[in-house]
Subunit: 772 residues, 2 copies
């Protein structure tokens, strides 16, 4: 854990040069616009610790799988979102000395991410070997207005001395991934061009053949002189312009560098040049000040819908905004082919591809904070991959349209290759089905079922029906050899969560069939015909639903995480020496596996998803049994626990979990922020406030609230979209305000009491029970 | 499965040139002498399929571990016995054409391994592009007389035309392993020398620093002329002599190439040159005919003790001799630092290192067929590694001298890196303890316990005592998260075999303590002191022994392979479509894991080891339950099943298993002989005859027999050493002969009847029950 980020409600600030934390800061200060993004690398050369990274959503490389021991069924490759053309890079030479913060004496340093406007600032003062003193100020943005563009202003001021300057600023395509399985480079050059007006570089990924054309227009402005391009550099995978000039003490020059990046994902290859040129020229015609204004305007629209304000706790305020900011930098929902990588555009780890995190954690955030099409696109993403999921299941021996969605994917194909995860962590199928239910529940848009949802549900239901087997011994259906959400258990039998979500999927699929039948029987017949659906499948499903085995301990009144869980030694986490934590760094894998320690919610994840089917005491018993055994070594763990703790009236515990999840990256809680940010778990932070503290639930088409206020706060407010209502919710001590800016009435149930907030109306509830 | 090896009782013969099978034949025709060995590569250039391989026991490279996903506790490297200097290689150029069987027209081809003399022969007739016809005859041996030497005679005869010949014969140190994790080369050159009298090359392995000096003396003899070295080639990692000469039609020249190979394993580095020179010169002074005679003499001594003769079934005869021959080529037992790699010197796969195969399968073979010191050396090997086994256990969180022997090792450190095997297939510890028991039982040499055995047993017992845990639920000790011998299950709870062998180890360790106490109480005190042994440990062990949980099914009267086994769908292997076999090639790993199918004996392995503790009906019930579910996809499976089947009177089944194990490599049963031979399972073939058909058991210091005769055979005989007796056992229809050439009486129990065979005496039992 670290504590070097300056607390501020809208800014993320690093106020000293800390080379040892540079890779952490590069992650934290990342910027992006949902289509592209970038770590906060320095523009000029830097010989210290740095992980270079600029990424483009959907552009991936199928990196040949690396394993020690091949198991039948492993995928051939791991798809990676790959480091792409470095457009910010420049070489700055002053009086013959290459400027490099690792070599110069840095006398002042500030890195600042302005979340309100989506701009990354850096201010440095440094002294070179010849005692020349410089100030460098850079501002960078990935446009949320035109997502194929990004821009940079790089100002050099001479504070002391006189500077003969060479500034070479280019496009570098000779880049590699640190996370390459076989140290390959992933890009070939297609073409390049460079003159004194522009530079452009077109690359193609090996194997996948994505083409990316980057085109830069840049100019160097100084109040004191007219600076033109001195030299054009044009070589394999690298194009640049060089400016030679001098500045006297007190003089300033600013490089404005604007890039358009177009890809074959969005344009026919033959049009790339034309598109990039048009975009680049149009973009270049706008002043940097205009770009900044548009950027702030764009972000203000996002913040209007998604901001959460916390009164009285600047650390918490900064943290929640940081989480929301990074989510919207990663995914804006406009392109149904894209999804939310666990590291977004902030690092290479986990390949930048889709996990069940999207459905389980991110969907609620996007449903509430933006228009429903965005959440719908997240569902459609999986619909597009249904055929691949069926093929994936076939590789594992399933038949007849059974679909197993991949654990990790970028194009619908499985990428992951630990057998205990890839083949066995099949509960992901449950989260994908649950997301459909959750979407329909939240939006009321049940037409999604007939349009896209039912195909997916039937594929998933077929998988579960084949994946269980009848136990002669138990005279019930069992599910053998799975890994539950708690990845600190592998290859277990009858993971309660998996059995439960499987049976729930079957039941919901039957309901969905019934729903589509009642809405549009022809459509249902079409679907059945296309899917070769036999009515007897429904009977089989019902038989499984009626006869599924769920491990439990009657005496304790708890569900058992899996068969045999009670054979373990049950020693609470609190009794583990601190020196042995985190377990995943201190204990060998086998020791973790046979221990009772739980990485993240497992039984509790099921009780969270299906909480309306369980009474409070059941939830309490299970929470009280499992939470003390949980080490929360997944970034996805604290949020579910916070929500449950809040529900159970364990407010201090809920707040403790909130802190842990919300500042996970800002404070580098798990010592791994340098690899990139934990993007998907950031949605869990949002859930912690909205579902946890405010107690938001949707039941029968109504919004339910049961708010608590952490005693460290004076109040908090957030905004959610719900079926035409646009509701501002403000919680303060003993007062609860709802303001509806939407055009539909919001039907609420607050602490069990129905309340309606008319369109454009508001209500204030005083003296009601707000626990704190 | 293939059927191209010509059946012959003493020879392995390939009578046609089959380039497509060349890598298989290279494995099958491998030669070695326990210290060094080699695949049957051609001497001259060959551009077809070939896996080059010459290996030296104990010389390894710690190849950096390759995994997809690192788990805490993985070893840093996988030790590999590595391909070393190629001393057989030569370039033969005839009338300007490089001789290469893949390019020439091969008109006759025979590869023949004479097992009686330990010589590899090859005869080829070929036509070159210019119609020159040649005959090449080569003979090769790894001396069993002086294990640091090997020799080659390579004869060239011109059958048609006139041949201008360049023959370049050298030492090539620029070699690599196909099985290299990161495509590294493992050797650096230390020095080289070459003149017209000799060539020599000294290499050092990277990281491990083993030095190997190869020194060749060679001469080219032709009846018709005096041929001398025309040119000496001396370059980085390569030295050679070139002979330029011509042969007329009908003329012959023979290259005699003799190599001495000395290593820093056996000599101080500074002496290597001196040792090699002396050895080489002495060796060179012997004619090739002398070498052949000595080789045959050496092998005749081995055969005298170890041969099994089978009357009436040449395929079975050839097979058993092939198995015995390869075992003695791999391991002669003279060096306690060496062990029996699963592929011996015949390939790279599995790294050429030690598995539990040694204790479970090979030990009985070496105990019976040679002097007891050899078997003892196999035990001492593990004793030498005790400290490393303790460190290995410490890495996994065990304390207080608990020892976990590695799954795979060359120097005592763990090499393997699949968590489900490395960390969980801990039953290997049981086999290592059982081997001590087995050795003492067989040899009566209980002094081994006080000398070496008890330390190892205590380390192992401590491991088990920490590895179990008390289940509050069961009120018994359980063992969670293991992989049993059946590797088609991973991370199971309470594998019956592992629980059983663990408890047995504890019990045997207590007995061993008692034994040492009664023999030499001072020694015991010394051991206790050294090991920091607390008497309360014994009480803990006894408590575990008395309260261990064993899963079983009372109704069926069978032990359960592990908890939950009966939740599986139990469908006999016989109902699986042939197209789905072998499962490990056709099914995904998860499907195998959740199926009921068993790779190799698991419960039955326990009943085999501890059979005297179970009545015949219990063994029968378990065999009848498990064997139909067993796919025998481990080469170690058929032998245990054959022995059990024989015991249970299932003679046809026993014979079926015998065939499967004995010709596994000769007929390439599993399509993997090209990777190398299944050396350790070859000992299982021997056990199938001796323990299976002849029913050999040792009980109370006596040899028990209960012979059956496969109906396909007229008879069989074998020889075993037992406590000073040297017993020839001959089984034929209704007649059983025992001849004792040793100097102690052999106390036998035949079909339950005591029989003694005096020293140098013999007995013949007629008309006794020999099932057939």
């Amino acid at each position: 854990m670290k504590d070097y980020i300056v607390k501020d409600s809208w800014q993320i600030i690093e106020d000293q040069f800390r080379p040892e934390y540079n890779e952490i800061s590069e992650s934290i200060f990342s910027i992006g616009n949902g289509r592209m993004g970038q770590r906060a690398n320095f523009e000029e050369d830097y010989s210290g610790k740095s992980l270079q990274g600029s990424y483009i959503a959907g552009v991936y490389y199928p990196d040949k799988t690396r394993v020690g021991w091949w198991k039948n069924g492993y995928p051939e490759y791991f798809a990676k979102v790959i480091n792409s053309t470095n457009w910010i890079g420049l070489h700055l030479t002053v009086n013959g000395q290459l400027v490099d913060l690792a070599q110069a004496k840095v006398t002042r340093f500030e890195r600042r991410l302005d979340m309100k406007s989506g701009v990354l600032h850096r201010q440095v003062e440094l002294t070179l070997a010849d005692n020349t003193e410089l100030a460098i100020t850079s501002r960078r943005l990935y446009s949320v207005h035109e997502s194929q563009t990004a821009a940079l202003a790089y100002e050099i001021k001479v504070l002391r001395g006189r500077a003969e300057i060479q500034l070479e600023s280019g496009l570098d395509g000779d880049i590699s991934n640190r996370d390459s399985n076989y140290e390959e480079k992933f890009w070939d050059e297609v073409s390049r061009s460079a003159d004194d007006q522009h530079i452009a570089l077109q690359l193609r990924t090996k194997k996948t053949g994505f083409e990316v054309l980057s085109r830069v227009s840049q100019n160097l402005v100084s109040a004191d002189q007219n600076i033109v391009v001195s030299q054009v550099i044009n070589q394999e995978k690298y194009v640049a312009q060089q400016f030679d000039f001098h500045l006297n003490e007190g003089q300033t020059a600013t490089l404005y560098k604007k890039v358009a990046i177009v890809t074959s994902e969005n344009h026919p290859i033959e049009n790339l040049l034309k598109e990039a040129t048009a975009l680049s020229e149009n973009f270049n015609a706008q002043s940097f000040a205009d770009l900044l204004a548009k950027q702030e305007e764009g972000w203000s629209k996002i913040w209007k819908d998604s901001d959460i304000q916390i009164d009285g706790d600047v650390a918490a305020q900064q943290a929640i905004r940081f989480n929301i900011f990074q989510l919207y930098q990663t995914y804006t929902g406009e392109d149904a082919r894209l999804n939310i990588g666990p590291k977004g555009f902030t690092g290479e780890k986990y390949g930048g591809v889709t996990y069940w995190d999207t459905e389980a954690y991110c969907l609620p955030f996007y449903m509430a904070t933006t228009k429903p099409e965005i959440a719908r696109n997240l569902l459609v993403y999986r619909h597009k991959h249904l055929q691949k999921a069926i093929e994936n299941a076939e590789k594992l021996g399933f038949k007849n349209g059974a679909a197993l969605y991949p654990m990790v994917t970028i194009n619908g194909e499985e990428c992951h290759n630990e057998w205990e995860i890839t083949f066995e962590e099949i509960h992901r199928n449950g989260a994908i089905a649950f997301a459909i239910y959750n979407y329909v529940r939240y939006t009321g848009d049940s037409s999604y079922l007939q349009e896209y949802g039912l195909d997916v549900l039937i594929g998933i239901a077929r998988f579960w029906a084949q994946r269980v087997n009848w136990s002669e011994q138990k005279q019930q259906y069992v599910m053998l050899g799975v890994t539950g959400p708690n990845e600190y258990e592998n290859n277990v039998n009858n993971n309660w969560y998996t059995n439960r979500i499987a049976s729930w999927c079957l039941k919901y699929t039957l309901q969905a069939i019934q729903h589509v039948e009642s809405e549009d029987v022809n459509r249902l017949e079409d679907i059945f015909k296309t899917l070769n659906f036999d009515a007897s499948e429904k009977d089989k499903w019902q038989h499984i639903i009626d006869n599924m085995y769920y491990p439990e301990d009657a005496e304790r009144g708890v569900y058992l995480q899996q068969d045999g869980f009670l054979d373990k030694e049950l020693i609470p986490v609190s009794e583990l020496p601190a020196s042995e934590r985190p377990l995943n760094q201190k204990w060998s894998w086998d020791r973790i596996l046979r221990s009772c320690y739980i990485k993240q919610a497992d039984v509790l994840q099921g009780l969270y998803f299906l909480e309306d089917q369980y009474d409070l005491e059941t939830i309490r018993r299970n929470y009280d049994f499992y939470e003390p055994l949980t080490v929360h070594e997944s970034s996805l763990s604290p949020c579910v626990h916070a929500i449950m703790a809040a529900k159970l009236g364990k407010e201090d515990k809920a707040y403790e979990f909130y802190l842990r999840t919300s500042r996970l990256d800002l404070d580098d809680y798990n010592n791994d922020t340098e690899d990139g940010l934990h993007i998907t778990s950031m949605a869990g932070t949002w859930m912690t406030i909205v579902e946890g503290f405010a107690g938001l639930r949707v039941r029968d088409g109504k919004l339910h609230f049961q708010p608590i206020l952490p005693k460290e706060w004076n109040g908090y407010n957030f905004r959610i979209h719900f079926r035409g209502a646009d509701l501002q919710v403000a919680v303060s001590k003993n007062q609860l305000k709802f303001k509806n800016s939407g055009d539909s009435t919001a039907n609420l149930v607050v602490n069990g009491q129905s309340q309606n907030v008319e369109a454009n109306g508001e209500i204030t509830l005083e003296n009601i029970a707000i626990s704190e």
